[in-house]
Structures are given as structure tokens and as C-alpha cells.
């Protein structure tokens, strides 16, 4: 059940909105001015939908829209701005402040319901997209960590295993299949051939004529 923030200083409209939202399957957080709306938006798990009156005491609706758009945690919040201002310039100013939609009072309840349905769908998609981006960032972090696990010498192409021993690729692969036997041969090979001990990044073994530590074998 999606939660809707209702911010309006008109007690009649607040009650009507609360009643309709409930009958349409939404839960509502209802406040009577911009300051209280700001406070509600700063709580953990803020509502994904907001119906905000333009003209309110204190912080007005367009200020709230600007705050929402400037706050990354509220990126998925879908805002419907309510107003009695009918001028075209007001509509433009309201949308430019960051509102996703704009409804002029008095409005049809069925129209509001339809617009909320759109807002609900878009906010849900935004939330799913944000969750997917988080997953991808997490996966990217894992890839970076995994790539650090396979240092390959750029010169001799050996791979350093988790125990800091350099191995031929074939040995490394065999080692992953039969860990105990491969590990034994890898240990002796690395001790004998590889002088380069701790590359800081993957696949970076300094070139042979460098003065830095290097893999001395071919």
C-alpha cells in the first residue's frame, strides 16, 4: 500500500483527501503546513507520493518541490502540486520548481485518482530503478575486488594466487580443480622464479628494465 504525503492548510480539503485516499487504497500522512511537510519528508522511509498545496503558511509548495528535487533520498518522490492559481505562468513556475504534476482547485476526484495512479506507477518504477542501480554498484564493487584477486604478471603472464605464489595459468587453473596437489608445485615454482612479490594492482608487473621489483623469469 503506497503512502501519500498530504500537505494543505485547508482543513476541509485535508479531510476530503484523507477519506478519498483511504478508499482508493493508499495510506496518508497528513500535515497542515510546509514546515510539517518538510519534517515528514526528512523521516526515514518518506512517502513516495506527495500532494502539496502551493500556498501554505511558512514553507510553500514550490519551496518543498525544490527541496525534494535537491535531496537524493527523495529522488523517487512523485509530487502533485495543488493550487488555485490558474494562470499559465503559474503552471510553468510550479512545474519548474520540481513538481511532476499540477492540479488546479477545485478538481475532479476521478481526475486526481487517475493522476495518482500515474504517480504511483512512476514512483514505483523510480524506486525499482534505484534498487537496481544499488545492486549494480554492489556488483561492480565485487568485480573490482575479484579483479584484485587475480594479479597477472604483464611480462611472464603468471598469476599470483591467494597465498602470494606466482603460477603459470595452466597450473593456476589446475590448482583450482585440485587445490592440494597444484598448490605444492606452485609454491616451489614461485619461490624459484618470481622475485616480484606484491603488485598493488591487477596484471601489473613492471617491465624488466625498470628498477622496481619485477618478475625475473620468462
Amino acid at each position: 500500500m503506497m503512502r501519500v504525503l498530504v500537505a494543505d492548510d485547508d482543513p476541509v480539503l485535508r479531510h476530503a483527501l484523507t477519506s478519498h485516499l483511504q478508499s482508493w487504497g493508499y495510506t496518508s500522512a497528513v500535515v497542515m503546513d510546509g514546515g510539517a511537510a518538510l519534517n515528514a519528508l526528512q523521516q526515514p522511509d518518506p512517502p513516495l507520493l506527495a500532494i502539496i498545496d502551493w500556498n501554505m503558511p511558512g514553507v510553500d509548495g514550490t519551496d518543498l518541490c525544490r527541496y525534494i528535487r535537491a535531496t537524493p533520498a527523495l529522488a523517487a518522490t512523485y509530487v502533485i502540486l495543488l493550487t488555485g492559481n490558474q494562470d499559465r505562468s503559474d503552471v510553468v513556475a510550479g512545474l519548474e520548481s520540481g513538481a511532476d504534476d499540477y492540479i488546479i482547485k477545485p478538481f475532479s476526484w476521478e481526475e486526481l485518482r487517475a493522476r495518482l495512479r500515474i504517480g504511483s506507477r512512476i514512483a514505483g518504477l523510480q524506486q525499482a530503478l534505484a534498487a537496481r542501480v544499488d545492486e549494480l554498484q554492489h556488483a561492480l564493487g565485487n568485480v573490482k575486488r575479484l579483479s584484485g584477486l587475480l594479479p597477472i604478471c604483464a611480462y611472464c603472464k603468471k598469476i599470483r594466487n591467494s597465498e602470494d605464489y606466482w603460477m603459470q595459468v595452466e597450473q593456476y587453473l589446475a590448482n583450482t580443480r585440485t587445490p592440494s596437489s597444484a598448490m605444492a608445485s606452485a609454491r616451489s615454482a614461485c619461490t624459484r622464479n618470481c622475485l616480484y612479490t606484491r603488485p598493488s594492482k591487477i596484471a601489473v608487473c613492471p617491465i624488466p628494465n625498470s628498477s622496481s621489483p619485477r618478475c625475473a623469469t620468462s
Partner: protein, 123 residues
Amino acid sequence: MLPSATVPDRVNNWTSADLAERLGGNRTLAHELIAIFLLEYPSLLQSIRASADRQDREAISRSAHAMKGTLANFIDSGPTVTARALERAAADARLADVPALVEQLEGEIQALAAVMRRQTGAR
């Protein structure tokens, strides 16, 4: 208060059934909204009167805007139109028009409130 002859017919003919229809047939909600309006409008009117007495343009405009918004939940003519005219007069600095508009608005609202009380039995 204006004599009933000067109150628009739309006010005298206003019905709670029309309001309920606008609310999707919800008569209970209609009566709840009327009760809230009857409770709230006196302080809104008082705020308009006080700001008009002070000739405070911003306060007149702000309180007339709030009254217009509340009235628009019930009726789109009569007092709603007058409240809009009052808001505009204050915004345009036509303070000479304010007293008459306040008087007209008060009369229309009192008439609407009387109709509401009569139809719902509210006090």
C-alpha cells in the same frame, strides 16, 4: 449580512446532495466536510475582517485566498467568486474596493452556512 435577494440563487439553491454527488455519492463525507466548514469559516472571516481593518494588502490577499480555497470545495460561484475578487483587489492595491467586497463575501458565506445548517441539521 446581505438580504437574501442579493445572494446569488446558486447559494440559496445549493444542496448537500450536489456536494455528495461531487464526492462520488458519499453523503457521510459530505456532512463531515460541511461540519468542518461550519466550524472553521468564522475564524477565516474574522481574519479577513481584521486584515481589511488594518488595510494590510498581503494579509487580505492571503486570507481571501484561503477562504476561496475552502469555499471552492462546496461551490464554484457566489462567495467563491467574491473571495477571488477580494484576493485580486488586495493584490492590485485597490483597497477602496475592499470594504464592499468583504461585506458581500460575509453575506454570501452566512447565507451558504444557513443553507448548510438547514439541510444537515448542523449547528
